[in-house]
């Protein structure tokens, strides 16, 4: 027993030490940079920008006192990552990996996040857009594609995304080449490459690196000023008499308002990175141009390109509203549906509330949810310019199935005896409330204060009474999670708004 108390005491002292380190900054450096700098990347590990960020982080080790750590925050075509950076303090420890695709992301999603909220630090590479085809098509030049399009009225171009850079490149190419073709969105890069390997389409709009190791694929042309040193046989649009430049750039940005010293420091490191031999190797291997642009050049480029992107998105009919705003707030609709459904249940059970059993309540809940979703599908409006099946189709199939099934459930379980069990959901409800309180409190007071409180409170609620073991587990867990997440995985657990 005493041994346990001693261990509990030691765990607690370690915990206090951790708090001191985190909040009082004991043993930490004071001048910038005092801790690792995160690079937030908007796509999953293994994507082009993820690779670039990781390569930069690797090379930067040679030139920086602190580490650069890549974090992936994928979702909503980059909005999740952008929002994440804006949620962080502008203290120079959170860098955002930016790509040209963000221009359309912001416009198409009509998001509250604006590119004006960012300070673009530096561009690193430009990755030329490329028209890629299957060897079996024997497209040797852009003119071959044009000839083919004249013969084949339904020439298909593919790539990932609608309104994506690749889609816009297709639109630009059609304009420049005077071609009429169809765009089919294959959702992801790999699926598009598979389709072009099967020769399903005439052209795949992608980047030169997509053809690596695939001898079946030909790059017909790249849309850059000059040829890539590592692909000397691939001609540019310009050489073939078509004036078209379109490259995906990738660089870095801070949230606006970052201290000048941080901007200078990071710019300095990046400048050294692009001079490194390893960086040149990386660019050659991934078929991109190293293209360092400082803050001013980079920002001017973006301002210019925003206008152009807007023009093409408009042309494609993608800058429209896809969902009608409901005249009544959705929350009211939901309430009305729920009330109506449960009134119907009440009537169905011959006006006897007590006869509504658990299955019927669940059935009623699902019925309400399905009706609510159905109402929302009525608000969809699809521009006539795009060739697709309705976005409402599949949800409606599931909705109607659920409607039928829940009605069957309600009818079937009528008059089912309600088996009274001695179960009581009270403790569960308290635990759920505790979890929610933990979630809210964590954002205010931080992970390290709230977690031991939550763990011990939950243990107490569940009738655990050995206090020494409670302390060992609660404080031990916090120390464990600090080392796993903060130290090993470089994920900063929230310290709380009140303290930072």
């Amino acid at each position: 027993m005493n041994a346990k108390k001693t261990i509990a005491g030691i765990t607690f002292i370690f915990y206090l030490g951790l708090l001191g380190y985190l909040y009082l900054g004991i043993g930490q450096r004071k001048t910038y940079p005092a801790k690792p700098i995160s690079i937030i990347v908007h796509s999953k590990p293994g994507s082009a920008i993820d690779y670039m960020a990781r390569k930069v982080a690797e090379i930067a080790r040679k030139y920086s006192d602190v580490a650069f750590v890549v974090e992936n925050r994928s979702g909503t075509q980059g909005l999740v990552a952008m929002q994440h950076v804006l949620d962080m303090k502008a203290d120079g420890y959170t860098l955002l990996g930016v790509t040209k695709s963000f221009l359309s992301t912001v416009m198409v999603n009509k998001s509250k996040v604006s590119l004006d909220d960012f300070q673009f630090i530096a561009n690193m590479v430009s990755d030329p857009e490329a028209l890629i085809s299957n060897q079996d098509r024997n497209f040797e030049s852009l003119d071959d594609i044009i000839q083919d399009a004249k013969k084949d009225e339904t020439q298909v171009w593919i790539g990932p995304g609608t309104g994506s850079r690749d889609h816009l490149m297709a639109l630009k190419s059609w304009e420049t080449l005077g071609v009429e073709a169809n765009w089919i969105d294959y959702k992801s890069g790999p699926q598009s490459v598979l389709a072009i390997l099967r020769n399903e389409a005439a052209v795949y709009v992608g980047n030169p690196a997509d053809t690596k190791g695939k001898s079946k694929l030909d790059i017909v042309s790249i849309a850059s000023e000059k040829r890539l040193a590592s692909l000397p046989d691939v001609p540019t649009f310009k050489e073939q008499g078509y004036d078209l430049n379109e490259s995906m750039w990738r660089g870095f940005a801070f949230k606006k308002g970052v201290p000048e010293e941080a901007v200078e420091y990071v710019t300095g490191v990046l400048q050294q990175v692009v001079k490194d031999e390893e960086w040149k190797d990386y660019c050659n291997e991934t078929y991109v141009f190293s293209n360092f642009e400082n803050h001013e050049v980079f920002t001017n480029r973006i301002v210019k390109e925003i206008k152009e992107t807007n023009h093409y998105l408009n042309k494609a009919g993608l800058l429209v509203s896809y969902v009608n705003t409901s005249s009544i707030p959705l929350i009211f609709i939901l309430l009305i549906i729920i009330i109506a459904v449960f009134v119907a249940l009440w009537i169905f059970n011959k006006f006897n509330i007590r006869k509504i059993n658990y299955d019927q309540i669940i059935g009623g809940g699902i019925l309400s949810l399905s009706l609510f979703f159905y109402y929302q599908t009525l608000l969809f409006q699809i521009p006539a310019t795009v060739n697709i099946t309705s976005p409402a189709l599949i949800p409606r199939i599931w909705i109607i199935t659920l409607l039928l099934l829940s009605v069957i459930l309600i009818v079937k379980s009528k008059n089912q005896t309600i088996n009274k069990s001695n179960k009581s959901p009270k403790t569960v409800l308290i635990i759920i409330a505790l979890l929610l309180a933990y979630l809210v409190a964590m954002q205010w007071v931080g992970y390290f204060f709230t977690t031991p409180v939550f763990i011990m409170a939950a243990m107490y609620l569940l009738n655990y009474r050995k206090f020494a073991m409670m302390a060992i587990n609660a404080f031990g867990f916090v120390i464990f999670s600090y080392f796993i997440f903060n130290k090993l995985l470089h994920i900063d657990l929230p310290l709380g708004w009140l303290f930072i």
């Binding site: 925050r73 790999p190 490459v193 979703f373 459930l409 979630l439 243990m459």
Partner: protein, 495 residues
């Protein structure tokens, strides 16, 4: 004997100090990654990536492949011990694995899963070595029509997951299918059903939902039942028998079959190991002599999905190495690693770097065997954790689920998703609705919708039935859907 020659070359490349060290490290880290909820194999592989920049290509790839392999096994440990699938591929393992734990037989489940994972991994590797070229053409032949059919096939498995009431099983899967339509439309750049909540614009994050449904739902339900108050030493854990060898030997054909299923489905880009585990589970149940034991603690129900899950690792490497196409999120990271080391994934790799390719194959072999022994040692530790009083264990699991959900995107909203799905899971379990079909719906919904709509743009619906590939899968789907009912009828007649 070109292959033997190449394998010998590979063995020489692999049999050096650094690659072998990397295999050891990779397996141990992989198991840890699998055990922590929220850390999926692909995140684990990505986390190891920076480390590999400084290594030679062989050691780098061995490290990543070992992490990938071992994390697929690691996920099953928490699935069995605390009903928390550490990785999506371990969902099907919870069905019977956790039941066994509740019955005081966690060691049986853990040993079965370890053995099945190892065999799955080995079989996957052998298939990869011998048949990667024909399998590559299988992977390539999958068009949207076949993907759609495969998604439907996956859905039909509900009929065997549904348990007592098929109606409730269908409702559960409908909930999953409907909820996964929240978020971006598969063709147009706009968000459906997201109620203008920015965090919901991209839909429900899968892993927090999974953790909520299984871990939280189960904890809530068992607290309600008052399990935590019982002073029972949770598991009268049977520590005497360390190796249920006899029972494992009975499962050998099943493990082999499931491994093959896992490898085949795993090699289809984008389909992935998770679907393979469900298909293997369903297949094991319908071919079992004791289908009634499934879902109630059947060792077969643990062996099948685990063998398939680790078999899918070998499968996923097929399109990567032969076509240069990443078949899963983890292999997407591997492809980048290859490129960084100036290697071009694709058919040329076999000709240019046979030593490297076969070195990876050889390392997979040894990694599997090493994983088995690490797993054996680990089992003793897991058993101790399982035997802790529930009132001590539950709060820790809740805190772990919390941080696991937060970690994926540093998102408080995701923790909210986890809690919400926990409540959903609890409400469903209370009413005898199975939760597994919800997950099945969440996994398959996007695949079905994306590929149905892509198919309808490219051609028309008749192609689902005129293309041999999709026709075969659709027929399989119909058989798998009606099989349980036909069997029941036949059984009744026989009685």
């Amino acid at each position: 004997m070109g292959i033997l020659n190449d394998l010998w070359l590979g063995l020489q490349e692999f049999g050096q100090f650094l690659p072998i060290m990397m295999m050891f490290i990779g397996v141990i880290i992989g198991i840890m990654v699998g055990v922590l909820p929220g850390l999926s194999p692909s995140i684990g592989v990505a986390l190891m990536l920076p480390v590999t920049f400084g290594l030679d290509p062989m050691s780098a790839l061995v490290l990543l492949v070992s992490v990938y392999l071992a994390s697929n096994y690691g996920g099953s440990i928490t699935a069995i011990a605390i009903n928390t699938p550490g990785t999506p591929g371990a969902v099907a393992t919870t069905f019977d694995g956790y039941e066994l734990t509740k019955q005081g037989k966690p060691l049986h489940a853990l040993m079965t899963s370890l053995t099945a994972s190892t065999i799955g991994g080995l079989v996957g590797t052998i298939i990869l070595i011998l048949f990667s070229v024909p399998l590559a053409s299988l992977a390539l032949s999958f068009e949207s029509y076949e993907y759609f059919a495969l998604g439907v096939f996956g859905l039909t498995i509900i009929s065997s997951l549904a348990g007592k009431s098929p109606l409730k099983g269908f409702i559960s899967s409908g909930i999953g299918l409907l909820l996964i339509t929240i978020g971006f439309d598969t063709q147009l750049p706009f968000s459906r059903f997201s109620l203008d909540i920015p965090d919901l614009a991209d839909g429900i994050t899968f892993i927090p939902a999974l953790i909520g449904l299984f871990a939280l739902g189960e904890i809530f339900y068992s607290i309600e039942k008052g399990d935590n108050k019982k002073v029972e030493k949770t598991a009268k854990v049977d520590l005497t028998k360390t190796l249920p060898v006899k029972e494992l030997l009975k499962l050998k054909t099943l493990m082999l079959k499931s491994s093959v299923i896992g490898t085949l489905v795993g090699c289809i880009p984008g389909a992935g190991g998770t679907i393979a585990t469900f298909i293997a589970y369903d297949n094991a149940k319908s071919s079992s002599k004791h289908p009634e034991k499934f879902g109630k603690g059947s060792l077969e129900g643990v062996a099948a999905p685990e063998a398939a899950n680790n078999g899918s690792v070998g499968g996923a490497l097929v399109p990567l190495l032969t076509l240069g196409i990443p078949g899963s999120a983890s292999t997407a990271v591997l492809i980048g690693a290859l490129m960084i080391h100036k290697l071009n994934p694709g058919p040329e790799l076999f000709d240019k770097e046979p030593g490297l390719v076969y070195g990876i194959f050889v390392s997979l072999f040894f990694a599997n065997i090493f994983m088995f022994f690490v797993g054996l040692m680990g089992n003793k530790l897991w058993i101790k954790i399982i035997a802790a009083p529930k009132s001590l264990l539950y709060p820790i699991i809740l805190a772990l689920s919390f941080i696991g959900s937060y970690f994926i995107q540093n998102s408080v909203f995701d923790v909210g998703i986890c809690i919400a799905f926990g409540v959903l899971g609890w409400l469903l379990i209370r009413g005898d609705f199975p939760t597994a079909p919800v997950v099945l719906g969440l996994i398959l919904g996007k695949m079905i919708e994306e590929n149905l709509r892509l198919s309808l743009i490219k051609g028309d619906w008749t192609e689902f039935f005129t293309r041999p590939g999709s026709l075969i899968i659709i027929v399989l789907a119909l058989v798998s859907f009606f099989m349980p009912y036909i069997k029941k009828k036949l059984m009744r007649k026989a009685n």
